[in-house]
Symmetry: C2
């Protein structure tokens, strides 16, 4: 499955690429996040699926639920032909996500401050220890 042009991937390949289990990948399909082709009963993944998987995992790391991610993906897929309601709904969703990201950035900023603070105190405490013999 390494011939070029339109690469395809087996489930175990994808699994290794992203360090998730095949089970996880099948589960995402079941939840409507992936739609691999079949060759017999075996799943065949294309780049589109790989990208979707990447986006899904990124979304997860940012704390989005699979359901949220799926809604975006679905609307996106129906994009060039979607009706006005769908499109507006998508814009709404996007705005929500942006707000979310903004809050997270703020949270990260604050969290960094606290890490700095804690680390400072921690180093002070280490300095103050009598046994500074081991490096």
């Amino acid at each position: 499955m390494i011939s070029d042009g339109a690469r395809t991937y087996s489930i175990s390949e994808l699994s290794r690429m992203f360090e998730v289990t095949p089970r996880t990948i099948r589960f995402y399909e079941q939840e409507g996040l992936l739609e691999p082709q079949r060759r017999g009963q075996t799943r065949v993944y294309h780049d589109k699926d790989r990208v979707r998987l990447k986006l899904t995992l990124r979304g997860k790391r940012l704390g989005f639920s699979l359901a949220e991610i799926r809604e975006v993906i679905e609307l996106y897929d129906a994009l060039p032909d979607g009706n006005a309601r769908q499109l507006r709904r998508l814009l709404e969703l996007l705005a929500e996500k942006r707000t979310n990201l903004q809050r997270q950035e703020e949270d990260i900023r604050l969290m960094r401050r606290e890490l700095d603070d804690v680390e400072g105190r921690c180093r002070e405490a280490l300095e103050a220890l009598p046994e500074n013999t081991e490096g």
Copy 2:
């Protein structure tokens, strides 16, 4: 409970402040994240608890598990008197969190790009619609 100096809070007050249920607050206590005083059987929260709760919720928004958050809090609490092993462990933890935050920042950056992209296509699709009669 509004006398100043050392303010205290009831569980429902905290609950309203942070928009979480009392159940959640009790659960966090059970998980070792809060240690309110008691007045009879009733919990009495001080500013320390309020701060801890705030940190906990922030951690949650950033995708940390309660267990992770607790470990940091515990080590932090034992701070000025902790032994060298504890202190080093805490520094390790802090470094981990930092790495984590960095990855999240990158994820946010990438996610923003995609939102921009999707929004662009979405607006194009809206423009292309025949019925642009409603604003």
